[in-house]
């Protein structure tokens, strides 16, 4: 089946050879573009008849640069549909025909897959599949197992069959989501206002920061942050922070409720923007945060640290999924786009923003050695570190918070999750908000 497809698509390519593809071939031959070097297999769909892909996701991963570059390289037009995190999942359920490609988080899969609205993606058609970081495929890094509490990607990575609605615990050909970006989150702090070292998650609920703390307003994630605090203070040890029993939920929510009643929290934040504003304006001095948000606060001239903590990180991961109804040329184009995405240029682009790419090898080939050393190896920056748009993010000499990739991803304690007792948890969360 896949063989047949490949022949037919290369035939199509031969017939539809355009000026652009010739130029691209010349460029690749001259070794000018490091990015296109990585694409050796001919994409099935070439500029002859441009395909438009409707790309649903949060704006965080949607970049105009990526769309521009893929249009140049493959002739595929990417049409972004930016929505909020909540809406990504809802649209997969309610409007499965309104997109061709979705960028969703792994933890949502437990809610999404049973709808049967997504199709499994064939590992055989993913060129760099073997090079995908073992964080996803095996749940390990540099041969070392990493924390797998919660919805770790490896638990929901494989499907039992192409159109199955069941996860497979063992590797199969069918993949739920092809990984795009991932990272490990911790607390962001304002060192200029706190004025002492912070080393543990328990500081989040420390009354010293009354009215100046914040957590994420996504119940299943907020409760995990609280669980990190509970374990840090030694009150309780969870078997799995990402999959609590009813009793554990009660215990955790009680601690959160008490903190809320005591006025510990300034606000809960829901999006990137809010988290940056809370920190930058001094409303909060300690809160759970995302790495690029911390960078953003710093770029506004405000001191902010993404503080590594002794209990470890709460990690998350996102990937590409495809609606079940997608087929034919559009599906081919989607595979082409994903293969392109993993071929290095996009990976380097994401790495430079503080996320991690799924295929590191190709990303590395597209980054300057000093950039790789700063972002991935935890070494002091040899030159100023710049964002993709050219603005200076960090001055030469700084070291990335949390150190190297291995130190950070190796320190993962749990993953964003949807619990088995999700209904109960949501009910308790509403009770907590009403308290």
């Amino acid at each position: 089946m896949t063989d047949r497809k490949r022949t037919s698509s290369s035939m199509r390519f031969g017939a539809g050879m355009s000026r652009r593809t010739v130029l691209r071939g010349v460029a690749a031959a001259a070794g000018l573009a490091a990015g296109s070097k990585a694409i050796t297999g001919f994409p099935a769909v070439i500029a002859a008849e441009p395909v438009t892909l409707r790309y649903l996701g949060t704006a965080v991963n949607q970049s105009a640069d990526i769309a521009r570059k893929v249009k140049e390289d493959l002739g595929i037009v990417i049409e972004y549909v930016p929505v909020t995190t909540d809406d990504v999942t809802k649209r997969i359920i309610t409007q499965p025909n309104s997109f061709d490609l979705v960028d969703s988080e792994y933890f949502s899969l437990k809610k999404l897959l049973p709808s049967g609205n997504l199709q499994g993606m064939s590992a055989k058609r993913i060129k760099h599949f073997d090079k995908i970081t073992p964080v996803f495929t095996k749940g390990e890094i540099a041969g070392k197992k990493i924390g797998d509490q919660g919805t770790a990607p490896k638990k929901v990575f494989y499907l039992a069959g192409a159109t199955s609605t069941k996860f497979s615990p063992t590797p199969t050909e069918w993949i739920t989501l092809i990984p795009t970006v991932y990272n490990a989150d911790t607390l962001g702090i304002r060192p200029d206002l706190i004025k002492r070292p912070i080393t543990s998650w328990k500081e989040l609920l420390n009354p010293e920061f009354k009215g100046k703390a914040a957590i994420l307003d996504i119940p299943s994630i907020g409760i995990m942050d609280a669980a990190m605090v509970v374990e840090a203070t030694g009150q309780y040890k969870y078997a799995d922070k990402g999959n609590m029993t009813k009793k554990e939920i009660d215990l955790t929510m009680k601690i959160l409720t008490d903190a809320k009643k005591a006025g510990q929290f300034r606000a809960f934040w829901k999006d990137f923007n809010e988290s940056v504003n809370l920190m930058a304006s001094g409303e909060t001095v300690i809160q759970s945060m995302w790495s690029p948000a911390v960078t953003k606060v710093r770029s506004q001239g405000v001191a902010c640290v993404f503080q590594p903590l002794q209990e470890g990180y709460r990690a998350w991961a996102a990937g590409f999924g495809v609606p079940k109804t997608l087929k034919g040329k559009k599906l081919d184009a989607t595979y082409d786009f994903i293969n392109w995405f993993m071929s290095g240029w996009a990976g380097a682009y994401l790495n430079r923003q503080g996320y991690y790419a799924a295929v590191l090898e190709t990303a590395k080939a597209n980054m300057e050695p000093y950039e790789w050393a700063y972002w991935m190896e935890g070494k002091p920056a040899q030159k100023d570190i710049k964002a993709p748009d050219g603005t200076v993010l960090e001055k030469a000499g700084t070291v990335r918070d949390g150190g190297s990739y291995e130190a950070r991803m190796g320190g993962v304690a749990c993953w964003n999750a949807v619990m088995d007792e999700n209904d109960y948890m949501v009910r308790k969360w509403n009770e907590f908000i009403a308290a």
């Binding site: 049973p114 009215g211 307003d217 299943s220 809320k260 829901k270 409303e283 509403n430 908000i433 009403a434």
Partner: protein
Amino acid sequence: MGSEAGVSPASSLVEERGVASSAARLPRAAAAYLLVAPFALVLLLFFVLPIALTLVVSFWSYNEYSITPSFTLENYAGVFEGCVSRLPELCTTFKTYLSTAKFCVSVWALTLLIGFIVSYFLAFHVRSPAVQIALFLVCTIPFWTSNVIRMISWIPLLGRNGVVNQTLTAMRATGEPIEWLLYSDFAVVLAFVHLFITFMIVPIFNSMMRIDRRLLEAARDAGASGWQTLCNVVVPLCKPGIAIGSIFVVTIVMGDFVTIGVMGGQQIASVGKVIQVETSYLQFPIAAANAVILLAVVLMVIWGLTRLVDIRKEL
């Protein structure tokens, strides 16, 4: 309405004549149905049907992974879980409704008070019609800016290091910045009033402009004080405007979750927020059950309101 009949006895006479003459001319009901049919059809397609689907779903059972067609009252039981057994302590649903009701009442009272005063000033104290319209537009223009942007623009004003606190500190009015300006009940009410007062001003102003000025003079000539004129002439004649404005404000506040979320720092309960949290976890049946209950509660409030003032009788 009694006062209405007293105001224009001629109109009831006209009404009778109208009915008599039109009976001869055309089947009035048929004309009415023709006129209202497109309106009703759109509401049927894009409101009644979707809500009927929602109602059906609210009786379905669900678990984490799927929504299963069946008939169950579980979702409703879930909404009212512990509401009786835990008395006198309030259950989540009652607490949430109490919190929402609190906002409703305070926002309603404030918008009504401010809206009435502003409309009164515009309608009766500003003499030139040109100035009147200009000032009226001044009141409505901010309303044309995006709600989201209008809401978040309060944040730099009210924050811990915001304009208000900086001013107060500079004036040495307070030593410490005031914390309750933002992410509090106060902030929510402020934003609501700011966002939705237009809905109150427009109908009240409209009602006031229709009051025959001769009535006010008559009242004054009859020896009524300004206050008496206000209470016995202006307010009764503004009732329909007040009722319409109240319906707008009450219904919007009841269903809101965006304003309460942003201005309350996502820490304040509202019925809309509960529904939003549930839908974000794809728990559609219980969200649907909550929506059905909310619908019932607000319809009761509106029913009560129309008992006080039947706006349709005033047409």
